[in-house]
């Protein structure tokens, strides 16, 4: 029998998923066209610019064009290629075959992401020679522009993580429409920065000159946020395709809680305003809260085992960290308590936060609890928890928009306050005069308490299942 040739195009040490994706991706028409088109357009523009090199803005024009084309390629095209990363495997029924190998759900998702990011890195490498040539046109802040280029690459990696992570979601409207709308917004932004207004480009480049300490801190905070957001998005994807015995919630919740605490505690070492830190805390909290409240509540004994072995304290901790929306309810309450504690601390030590911020924070959490309560009350047996949760979240904004438009259209027709039981309305009601800030705070608390209790009461069978699963596992003392 003839022997087969040994394939040695990629090292054995590389993630197999990366190898597969690169083999496919580098031959794919999408990347090839993008790569060649970018080279062709940049080469053409370089030639044109060279012919007008005596013009005082020729260098700037070339910089902005290079940045615009690179941004278009890596901030729009490359992330959009991630839309079908996991969904194509799910639709083609190949995800099952992947899950049966030694690849964990995380390695599958990470491999998909890193392959797209590697291709973006190739585009970055392809653009750098043009920046070097642009240097000869003069008037270039080479360090700042290179940092800016790397930041664009970082944002691209984060956006790619978003599309790859969300590509595991069944609902097309979120998986496809959201990235496309996002892509349109990004196009508008990059057009504005690089083409629309020559000064905005210079202002952005100026940030990366690190002429003051706050811009350095800002960039560091931004990098940390990008890494966290990217990691979180990839975990969403891997949690969706992971088998039930592979828990992602423990790590996700622990790291998120740590990040939120660290962000809120920054007040102790910096002069950052309370408002900024609360907003930062909210930015970190909302994604993990949504993930927690939409998780599959099935608890495999192998996940509960390490907790049960730690005795009562372990079991108690498990009530917050086990996978599933029921334990997610308690975890979200912990996050909420953390933010409330921080707001209380800031109000004692710094200039107190205005009521609007406190109402906003409470309204956001009430919106989350409202969505889970409605999911549980109205469509309990539906499998697409994430889609339904987002649907109920969006419905609140739809009601808010309808009542707002009605009020604007009929001037004497104030109806929004009748809908104060829909938490999203609190975001607008705080601007009006019908309710005092104190009353609005009370309404927000009532919303939180009410919807939390509704959701908690419907979770009782799950708590019983958790206890039964724990009983199957002998604790250390019993052993």
């Amino acid at each position: 029998m003839a022997s087969i040739k040994h394939i040695v195009d990629f090292s054995d040490k590389l993630n197999p998923m990366l190898v597969k994706e690169l083999r496919q991706g580098l031959r794919g028409i999408g990347f090839v066209i993008l790569f060649i088109a970018l080279q062709a357009v940049l080469g053409f523009i370089l030639l044109i610019t060279a012919s007008i090199a005596s013009h005082e803005n020729a260098g700037h024009l070339l910089s902005r064009t290079i940045f615009f084309l690179f941004s278009f390629a890596v901030l729009i095209v490359q992330p959009l290629r991630g839309i079908s990363a996991l969904s194509s495997e799910i639709k083609g029924n190949t995800i099952d075959l992947l899950c049966l190998t030694r690849l964990s759900a995380w390695r599958i998702t990470f491999g998909k992401w890193i392959s797209l990011v590697s291709q973006s890195a190739l585009l970055l490498a392809a653009v750098i020679p043009y920046l070097v040539l642009r240097y000869f046109f003069g008037d270039m802040q080479i360090f700042s522009e290179l940092i800016f280029l790397l930041m664009i690459f970082l944002i691209s990696a984060t956006l790619t993580a978003f599309t790859v992570g969300f590509s595991s979601i069944k609902t097309n409207i979120f998986r496809v429409l959201l990235p496309i709308l996002g892509g349109m917004c990004i196009f508008r932004c990059i057009w504005q920065i690089f083409i629309g207004n020559r000064y905005s480009y210079q202002e952005v480049v100026q940030i990366f000159s690190f002429s003051n300490s706050s811009s350095l801190l800002g960039v560091i905070a931004f990098i940390v946020m990008c890494i966290y957001a990217g990691w979180m998005c990839l975990h969403i994807g891997s949690a969706k395709i992971a088998p039930v015995a592979e828990s992602h919630s423990v790590l996700q919740r622990s790291i998120s809680l740590l990040m939120i605490t660290a962000a809120l505690a920054t007040a102790l070492i910096t002069t950052a305003s309370a408002f900024t830190l609360i907003m930062l805390g909210m930015f970190l909290a909302i994604p993990i809260c949504i993930i927690c409240l939409t998780e599959n509540p099935y608890l495999a004994p192998s996940i509960a085992e390490p907790f049960v072995r730690k005795g009562i304290a372990g079991r108690l901790l498990g009530r917050f960290l086990y996978p599933g929306w029921a334990t997610g309810l308690l975890f979200v309450m912990v996050v909420f308590a953390l933010l409330q504690g921080a707001m209380f601390y800031y109000s004692k030590t710094q200039t107190s936060l205005d009521d609007g911020v406190q109402i906003n924070v409470n309204a956001v959490f009430a919106m989350l609890f409202f969505s889970i309560a409605m999911t549980r009350l109205l469509v309990r047996k539906h499998q697409n928890r994430f889609g339904l949760f987002i649907l109920f979240l969006s419905t609140q904004f739809l009601i808010l928009a309808i009542t707002f438009v009605c009020e604007e259209f009929f001037h004497q027709f104030e109806i929004m306050h009748y809908f104060c039981w829909i938490p999203a309305t609190l975001l607008i009601l705080k601007e009006g005069t019908i309710f005092s800030p104190e009353t609005l705070k009370l309404i927000a608390w009532l919303n939180i308490g009410g919807y939390f209790l509704i959701a908690l009461s419907t979770s009782l069978p799950i708590w019983r299942q958790i206890s039964e699963t724990e009983k199957q596992i002998p604790s250390d003392k019993q052993i």
């Binding site: 087969i4 054995d12 190949t94 049966l100 030694r102 088998p243 592979e246 495999a300 192998s302």
Partner: protein, 330 residues
């Protein structure tokens, strides 16, 4: 040593749908077990739970003594899974496809090359090595899928409708490969709609209907009808009018007339003992029996009988029913 597959009180519900409703069965090491059921009976759901791709609502499943929910990674190293349908990757040759799965299963260097060589030889994929994996025929794709499932030399092979959509030649080839694997001592759990082929390949057959196991036994007993399912069919021929047989059966509570034939007809009789009594009664009643032989049912018949039996509400036996009617005052 415990059995290769142990399913204990397995339930799998999807909301109100009871896909699998409390099934129990065991498959011994080195045997080939056929899994038969109509569409939507719960075959694929059961197979997905066995393969760690889904989880039970209740109950336990063990592969080679390892719980599939608690230790999915260990179970995965023991099983090879062939789904009923799957897509192939674009821009990837057959060799690269197998190379990827070999990498994903933890093989590297020479060992990887050796494993790929072995499965390509076994599944006759070497001539296809440089063909794009998404441009293969259905039969070639199934061979590729079998090759992929065998890369890590699993002890248990779970195959969901492997012969579906194959032409007769590809079906024979696949059957041949499965036979070789069975001879090598692998435990094979296979579902198929082509029951005659299952009968030839399998040591035992599991029938599932509406999420419940309705029969577990070997194909031969099912075909002979000695398993008590649906009774046995007899071809009876008489001298004289064929109507005489139908008339006589109508008065006999232990036999059921199925269809008339040239000189008699087909009759269903519950057991061998009853058949001998029926024959004696026929002779005693003056019927000139020239042929009385037990027919061997094919598996399709057995399967249909099985479904009819489980879907019919429980009734009194014909004899008891007749006796009861006779005793009813008019």
């Amino acid at each position: 040593m415990s059995n290769a597959i142990i399913v204990n009180n397995l339930y799998r519900y999807f909301g109100p749908l009871k896909a699998v409703d409390g099934i129990n069965f065991e498959v011994s090491h080195g045997s080939v077990c056929g899994f038969v059921g109509a569409n939507g009976a719960g075959k694929t759901t059961t197979m997905r739970v066995l393969s760690t791709l889904d989880y039970p609502t209740m109950g336990t499943v063990e592969i080679c003594g390892i719980n599939v929910v608690n230790h999915p990674a260990k179970v995965r190293s023991l099983i090879g899974w062939m789904p009923d349908h799957f897509g192939n990757y674009e821009h990837m040759t057959v060799l690269e496809y197998l190379d990827f799965y070999a990498r994903a299963l933890g093989y590297s260097g020479k060992e990887r090359q050796m494993r790929i060589q072995e499965v390509m030889e076994f599944a006759d994929l070497i001539p296809l090595a440089d063909r794009l994996s998404n441009k293969l025929s259905k039969g070639m794709t199934q061979r590729l899928c079998l090759g992929r499932a065998l890369i890590h030399d699993p002890q248990v092979l779970i195959m969901d409708e492997p012969a579906a959509g194959l032409d007769p030649k590809a079906r024979v080839e696949l059957k041949h490969l499965i036979r070789i694997l069975a001879e090598e001592g692998k435990t094979i759990f296979i579902s198929s709609h082509i029951l005659s082929e299952l009968g030839e390949m399998c040591d035992s057959l599991l029938f599932i209907n509406n999420g419940r196991i309705v029969h577990h036994g070997d194909a031969e007993s099912l075909k002979q009808g000695t398993d008590g399912v649906g009774g046995q069919l007899y071809d009876i021929q008489l001298l004289g009018s064929p109507q005489a047989l139908a008339d006589w059966i109508a008065t006999n509570p232990y036999a059921e007339f199925i269809e008339s034939r040239k000189q008699g007809g087909r009759v269903r009789i519950e057991s061998l003992e009853t058949a001998s009594r029926v024959l004696a009664s026929m002779v005693k009643d003056g019927l000139q029996v020239i042929e009385f032989h037990r027919e061997q049912r094919n598996l399709e018949d057995a399967f249909i009988d099985m479904l009819e039996k489980v879907n019919t509400p429980p009734q009194m036996p014909k004899a008891a029913a007749t006796a009861s009617t006779e005793g009813t005052p008019h």
